[in-house]
Amino acid sequence: MEKKIDLTLKVWRQRDRKAKGQFETYNVKGISTDSSFLEMLDVLNEQLINEGKEPVVFDHDCREGICGMCSLYINGHPHGPDSAITTCQLHMRKFNNGDTITIEPWRSAGFPVIRDLMVDRTAYDQIIAAGGYTSVNAGGAQDANAILIPKTDADEAMDSASCIGCGACVAACKNGSAMLFVSAKVSQLALLPQGRVEAARRARAMVAKMDELGFGNCTNTGACAAECPKSISLSNIARLNREFIKAKLQD
């Protein structure tokens, strides 16, 4: 049943990368519990614009949990208190009338704030560009059964491939480590014969880029997997370690 709730929002405001940010407190009234978290922020922004103030800047795109653009650290959780969903999939029915909600940007040296709640995640694009692909000859599509792949491998590769590159893993990590993301991207290809060919080169190049960009050393706390909206498994990190150590021992 739809209900209307009133909320107090503590929102991080920061003019640009260099500026010192601070929390601003806003009240929003009559929010439908059927609306999504981002729709609630739309209501807030509408209200701010009508008051002649600057709207809050935040990232979003598909609003259906597939693009990886939305972010937000809500009450101590990347993508909010619910598990295995993105912020755009978070419903306001998860909150109660009168709640105070604290909304912060991803805070990590690798993801500097651009403005307010929007952070620069191009570091992830650079890691992908370093080797997160397969080199293939273009041409007609091959017959699907030309290379046989065990179902378990295909399933595991598919699970790894469900990473949307949102960066919640880095945001959740006390070490600012990008290992869950990088390990998912290495695994989705390392598990398949087409990706095996370049597996060693890929592991070396992606880890080198990740280190160069200043992400931390993974100490296996597991906060990343606990907060990941796609439930990417920690076993990917063990696989990345294996791939990387094997590659280095071959050198």
């Binding site: 650290y73 050393n217 606990a226 280095k248």
Partner: protein, 233 residues
């Protein structure tokens, strides 16, 4: 060199040095058990580990293991704080699946070294070192006497148990994490390693604690005579 200039390489060093220290602890705990049953047997083991070349090489390797582990611990933690950046979250939570120990490995490690300093002063200093250069009046060949005299005091027993507790927390995360770091893990082994690590950490720490408590009961409470070797000089 990938063991210093890549994140996974540095973690491999952390993992292998940690596993080496775990092996050492296992041996140390087993040898301590002898003291509860036979002070003479314990002295015989200490005799092997006195000032002879293989024991000294062993001590040097062990010290190197500790030093590497500790240097990397501070180095990794410093890098990780830098990677996190200066802005801290106003609201933080710890997801249920995240072990408390995993987020406090450095603090636990520092507690372990502080007690280690006390431990070295109490025993290593008066035993192996004393045999090489006379630094104390204690008889370096009579380890049993030294250890029993220490644990007759209940305050020492409590202090050592606190130490073992810090070690227990360090190992419950450290054990499975070390295997994960060197890639020996997957979805099936994930929980198995955690259980094996918990059981192993518990056996090691209970073993150490058992010796301290048993000596206290035997000599502190029941008042057994403390066996002492006749002085040599």
């Amino acid at each position: 060199m990938w063991l210093t200039n890549s994140s996974i390489g540095r973690k491999v060093v952390m993992s292998l040095s940690g596993l080496f220290l775990v092996l050492f602890l296992t041996f140390h705990m087993c040898m301590n058990l002898a003291l509860v049953f036979s002070p003479d047997a314990y002295n015989a083991i200490c005799g092997f580990l006195g000032a002879n070349w293989y024991a000294l090489v062993g001590t040097a390797v062990l010290a190197a293991g500790f030093i590497v582990h500790i240097i990397y611990a501070f180095w990794l933690t410093w890098q990780n704080r830098k990677a996190r950046g200066n802005d801290r979250y106003a609201v933080t939570t710890r997801p249920k699946s995240v072990e408390w120990a995993s987020q406090n490995m450095l603090v636990l490690g520092i507690i372990v070294i502080l007690f280690l300093v006390l431990h070295m002063a109490q025993f290593w200093f008066k035993m192996q070192l004393n045999e090489i250069v006379p630094v104390s009046d204690a008889n370096p060949h009579d380890g049993s006497y030294l250890v029993i005299e220490t644990f007759k005091n209940p305050v020492m027993v409590v202090i050592y148990i606190l130490w073992f507790a810090a070690l227990w927390f360090h190992l419950t995360h450290g054990f499975w994490s070390a295997l994960h770091t060197i890639g020996f893990n997957n979805n099936i082994w994930f929980n198995r390693w955690k259980v094996i690590g918990n059981v192993f950490a518990t056996i090691i720490c209970l073993g150490f604690a058992f010796v301290a408590v048993a000596l206290y009961i035997q000599y502190g409470v029941l008042g057994w005579d403390v066996p002492q070797m006749p002085a040599v000089h």
